[in-house]
Symmetry: C2
Subunit: 80 residues, 2 copies
């Protein structure tokens, strides 16, 4: 079972990395960029063939390791 | 116009960071994990209200700054 996890900063959490990228884009002439926020993607392969079980396992992984749930949100997408 | 860019390593490109995460997951008891590959997400806000123009601009940003197209793929998703 393949799955994708997308981890993004919660609204209101400062993102200096995103701001730096925004500054670089502006200095390269991309003036139409109003905001950039950077997050992380994890592409996982799991042994289980059961989508619900996979989702439950990945949720536990996010809570424990993949995301810092104080400042980050995560979204799980089962690809199949 | 809001858009999301997902940058992932091409197949065959080594991902030591993903391997480290896989190791950590195993050591925390998540034995069912067969592979982890890490990528990046950029959530962008652009001034333009035209989806095609936004996509063209973002493609240029990816080629120039957001992705290293030698070793990375990028996917653009217009959110609206």
């Amino acid at each position: 079972m393949k799955a994708r996890v997308i981890v993004t900063l919660k609204n209101g959490v400062l993102d200096p990395q995103g701001q730096a990228i925004e500054g670089s884009l502006h200095s390269q002439g991309f003036d139409g960029v109003q905001s950039v926020r950077q997050g992380k993607v994890f592409d996982l392969e799991l042994q289980t063939a059961d989508a619900d079980e996979a989702k439950a396992q990945i949720e536990a992984m996010c809570e424990k390791l993949l995301a810092n749930t104080v400042i980050e949100n995560f979204a799980i997408e089962i690809i199949g």
